[in-house]
Amino acid sequence: MSELLQVIGLTKRFGGLTAVNNVSFSVQEHEILSVIGPNGAGKSTLFKLIASFLRTSGGEVRFRGERISNLAPHITARKGIVRTFQETTIFKGMTVRENVVIAHHLRSKASLFGFFIESPAAARDEQEFGRSADQILEFLDLGEIKNEVASNLPQGHLRALGIAIGLSTDPTVLLLDEPFAGMNHDETRRAVEMVRSVRDRGVTLLLVEHDMSAVMKISDRIVVLNFGEKIAEGTPEEIQSNESVIEAYLGIEDESIGL
């Protein structure tokens, strides 16, 4: 295995608040790495830094050895690092299929003007994206509802659509921020399967999640944040028996980290 992504001394300050403090870890190719920690620990901020949605205050992120922090988000996305959002973020006014087709934009070879005059390249893109979108929708069990307007979907489907959008970009690394939030037990179980099969497609996954039983099941490794600092890193078993992790979660119900 090789190191795909390196987070080195990453720091983010919001005024006086240090949301992410000197965090370092690395991500192996094809692994599922989860980032956990109490609310406000800096998990979402960490993801935004990796995906260039925020400027760093210090440290850097390297992708295949190349520095990628502080680029524009669409550039980082073009390099293959794509983030989905904690808040379910989709294009509400479009149908499920339109959402997924437009998310193929990254793969498109035609220029904006090419789209306008419908150049051969644009027409080819359009066809190919439709085909690929249908495949992704089938793969994520969204085929049946592909013509529904996204704003009418229930939570579970919204999350799946979010993942479908992420997948459509053909990412190398997919950052999923709380993909299982708001799902019931059954939906979560299916979503976990889904995430696994995404990994089997060759995608490396970073995950922020609160559902501890899901995290423990799905992750190859786990990074624990508390007050912006990394307090532990290891396999699910190592994390479950780690003293400082248990301490960080004290005061919260024990069940919530599955202990």
Binding site: A51, F53, A72, P73, H74, A77, R78, V82, R83, T84, F85, T89, I90, F91, K92, G93, M94, E98, V101, I102, A103, H105, L106, S108, A110, L112, F115, F116, E118, A122, D125, E126, V149, I165, S168, T169
Partner: protein, 329 residues
């Protein structure tokens, strides 16, 4: 809609605009309608531009600035440099497009009310600039602009000199209608291509759009440039028709009207601004008899209409067809 019904529909609309209406005017002798309809066509071009900025999720109350600028660019080139009007028309559009790049890059980062306020100020800045610049002749404006000259290719007269026509009004009518058709055909094409989808992705969620790799800053500027180009074209033609342009030719009130035209017609429909302009323009004229109550009645009806049909007049027609509308967020 099948392809044939579409072609028949487009053909019918073209026939009405280019043959039917002029015939009716000739029969009825209502020559004043030429001027009115010419104005509607030109205003709807400018409104079409505003509509496009709505389509990427920006409330644009600054189109008057570009219409004014377009009018002055054409007028100055024609009067001071003797350039043919037909050449100044695209130049005016391109000039406005270029200026809008400089203005757009910083202000398009703003959203919602903030963008709207800045664009509103822009109209006023444009008016004051035209008052102050040495080349624009201050408050007296530029008057006695010659009518558009002939266009000849190898001795063949494509467009006659407007000054030689016994009545230039029909000629201006045809010019404006053709420009309007080109403008809305272009917008229709844009909106129904992938480019339109990208614009909608901006309107609905800029953050997500950028995370799927859309260069949102670039796309915003592209849309704004097209919008301003259309404003410039509309303004330049207006100056040619009235053969004059003043700092007050386009004011904040016009900018607001451009926006209202879009609201009224429907932000989700590409032909919305055309219908909106027509209804608003004639509605205002019809209320002329009510004198001092004109504005009061006009505003009340407008507010009621927008409340009753939040997706615009065209939603009446499309809601049944199941075509989903685009929210304004």
């Amino acid at each position: 809609m099948t392809r044939t019904t579409k072609i028949v529909g487009v053909g019918a609309v073209l026939a009405i605009l280019l043959v039917g209406i002029p015939a009716l005017i000739n029969i009825s002798g209502r020559w004043d309608l030429y001027y009115t309809l010419t104005s509607v066509a030109l205003l709807s071009i400018a409104s079409g531009g505003v509509w496009l900025t709505f389509y990427i999720g920006r409330i644009n109350i600054g189109q008057g600035a570009y219409a004014l600028m377009g009018g002055y660019v054409s007028a100055i080139l024609v009067v001071k440099y003797g350039v043919s009007f037909w050449l100044t028309l695209p130049i005016a559009g391109l000039f406005c497009g270029a200026v809008s790049v400089l203005i757009g890059i910083p202000i398009l980062r703003l959203r919602g009310v903030y963008f709207a306020m800045i664009t509103l100020v822009l109209t006023e800045v444009a008016r004051l600039s035209m008052l102050a610049l040495p080349i624009t002749n201050g408050a007296k404006g530029i008057t006695n602009i010659p009518l558009p000259g002939a266009v000849e290719v190898f001795g063949l007269t494509l467009i006659p000199d407007f000054a030689t026509l016994s009545n230039a009004k029909p000629a201006f009518y045809y010019l404006s209608i053709v420009l309007m058709i080109l403008c809305f055909a272009g917008l229709y094409r844009l909106v129904n291509s992938r480019l339109g989808k990208l614009c909608r992705s901006l309107q609905q969620n800029e953050e997500l759009a950028s995370s799927i790799g859309v260069n949102i800053a670039y796309l915003r500027v592209v849309a704004y440039v097209i919008s301003s180009f259309l404003g410039g074209i509309g303004g330049a033609t207006f100056a040619a028709i009235s053969q004059s342009v003043y700092p007050s030719s386009f004011t904040i009130a016009d900018s607001i009207n451009f926006m209202l035209n879009c609201f009224l017609g429907g932000l989700g429909y590409v032909f919305g601004p055309m219908l909106g302009t027509l209804v608003l323009y004639f509605g205002w004229d019809l209320l002329f008899q009510t004198g001092e109550f004109q504005l009061l009645i006009f505003s009340t009806v407008l507010i009621a209409l927008i409340l009753a049909l939040p997706n615009g007049l065209l939603s009446l027609r499309f809601s049944k067809a199941g075509k989903e509308s685009v929210g304004r967020e």
